[in-house]
């Protein structure tokens, strides 16, 4: 069982990212489950979403407390919430940022970075003020975590993006190629 926690702000598409990751994982032959932190979503407020991936049917229905990886869609969250909470030792932190992995200090964890905001802006995903970075970050997920191939991620994005399907697919591909691994 592999468990992922997404941190984002309402409106950035963290919940959709978790859903699309689950869809891509199922395309690849896994079982998967995705759910939001069951809260009252407001634009801009910190939100969490989760994906479980396993070879077997997933029976588990409780929250994810000890994820194997966390994905941070908005770097400004890192001053607000502890994104490493419960993260398994040696777990991966994937951050949307213009910085490099060595600019972060997370002892005991692996850091990967991608400039998903820049990629989203380039493809005009969302608005200038509020770019939607979820498809880019999923491409980066494939690179950094690697258990779901980028081809399935792109296929899932094409089928599920509500608009700009090609631009979203391109964003994922570019993010996949430009993700920096800090290990």
């Amino acid at each position: 069982m592999y468990e992922v926690r997404f941190h984002g702000r309402g409106g950035q598409g963290a919940v959709t990212a978790a859903n699309i990751l689950a869809i891509a994982a199922v395309k690849q032959g896994y079982h998967a489950q995705a759910f939001p932190y069951f809260g009252v979503e407001r634009r801009g407020a910190p939100v969490q979403a989760f994906t479980r991936i396993d070879r077997e049917r997933i029976d588990l229905r409780m929250n994810v407390y000890e994820p194997d990886a966390v994905v941070v869609l908005d770097p400004t969250l890192m001053g607000v919430v502890d994104v490493t909470q419960g993260l398994k030792s040696g777990g991966i932190i994937l951050i949307n940022t213009s910085k490099k992995p060595e600019d972060f200090n997370f002892p005991g964890f692996k850091v990967a970075t991608v400039n998903a905001t820049e990629i989203a802006l380039k493809h005009r995903l969302g608005s200038q003020a509020a770019p939607i970075v979820n498809t880019a970050i999923l491409g980066a997920y494939s690179k950094a975590i690697g258990n779901v191939s980028v081809d399935y991620v792109i296929e899932a994005i094409r089928e599920n993006a509500p608009a700009k399907k090609e631009e979203n697919a391109m964003a994922a591909k570019e993010a996949y190629e430009s993700t920096i691994l800090g290990w």
Binding site: A18, N19, A22, I23, V26, H31, A32, Q33, A34, F35, P36, F38, V40, I58, D59, L60, R61, M62, N63, Y65
Partner: protein, 398 residues
Amino acid sequence: MKAMIRGNESIAYAFKLARVQVVPAYPITPSTLVPEKISEFIANGEMNAEFIPVESEHSAISAAIGASAKGVRVGTATASQGLALMHEVLFIASGMRLPIVMGIGNRALSAPINIWCDHQDMMSARDTGWMQFYAESNQEGLDLGIMAFKIAEDPRVLLPAMVGLDAFVLTHTVEPVEMPEQKDVDDFLGEFKPNYVILDPKKPATLGAFAFPEHYMEFKYGQWIAMQQAKKVIDEVFEEFENRFGRRYRKVSGEFMEDAEIAIVTMGSMTGTAREFVRKLREKGEKVGLVKITTFRPFPKEELISVLKDVKVVAVMERNISHGFGGAVYAELGSAFVNQPSRPKILDFIVGLGGRDITFKTFEEVYGVAKKAIENDVDEVNWVDVNKEAVLKAEGLL
């Protein structure tokens, strides 16, 4: 075909596949996506139905009654306060013997306001004469949604049915669901042909109007008989569904029950986590089993007695509370056993109210008390994962 859908969508797809003709609905968290998805199906031309946006849940169920009395297939969805607002009308639907199917996003009741999961909404509608099914997964939500029409519309039954999906834990969770083919569902369900008077301007009739004391009890006895008949019809429909679609349903399902000394009884989505927990305990050699209740009305008394009679302790875990006594499942299970020559010790565990997460820790505590109860006296009704000290202080008892 496998679809990745949320629990709410499994109800919407069940209605679409059942070719529901009228959907009156009023949105409420967490079941809003059901009417949303259905209006999308209708707008896209994928579903030939009339969607009636109404001004309240009271109107939604009233419109459902009108449409069902015309002899068409009707579905709606609600949750929590919405179901509570429908309450007086729920009796009218069952009293008029209308086979309406309603999806429920099982959610807590106010106060305090809470949008998260428990079963208080449906449990509070226990005595309205509706059949009740609780889904463990989105697949079950879809399958039970389809089967509910066949059961409800059976001439031996003609009662409305609720299918509960746990708020957020199912309603908002995306997971793979095997989507049946339309033609298979058509063959399975057939067309709804009402046996009794339907509203028809050419043949005026009055339905559900008035009954003097000379007649009222016969109507109620009729509902009682229909509910008894439903027990058999549910088994038949579950079996036919299994033969056609390959997925097995039972009113009560026991797992790991051979030689079990302790049985954990669950309903709804907590069952999955319970199964993982029981599997782990079995690996350690613990004699523990799991019993899932899918059908709560009609109450599967015979099946529960049969699966639980040989265990030492039954731990009922439930997401509802009847203040002043205990949980509804505990109360009914106790009643089911009361005239049996021998019976297990039955304990109640109130868990997961208002969306409090039910985790392995919850099960560990429940199992610990149940194990202790084999040899010792323990409390009959236990609240788990609650800050009791804070409450007792606030109530002036500590």
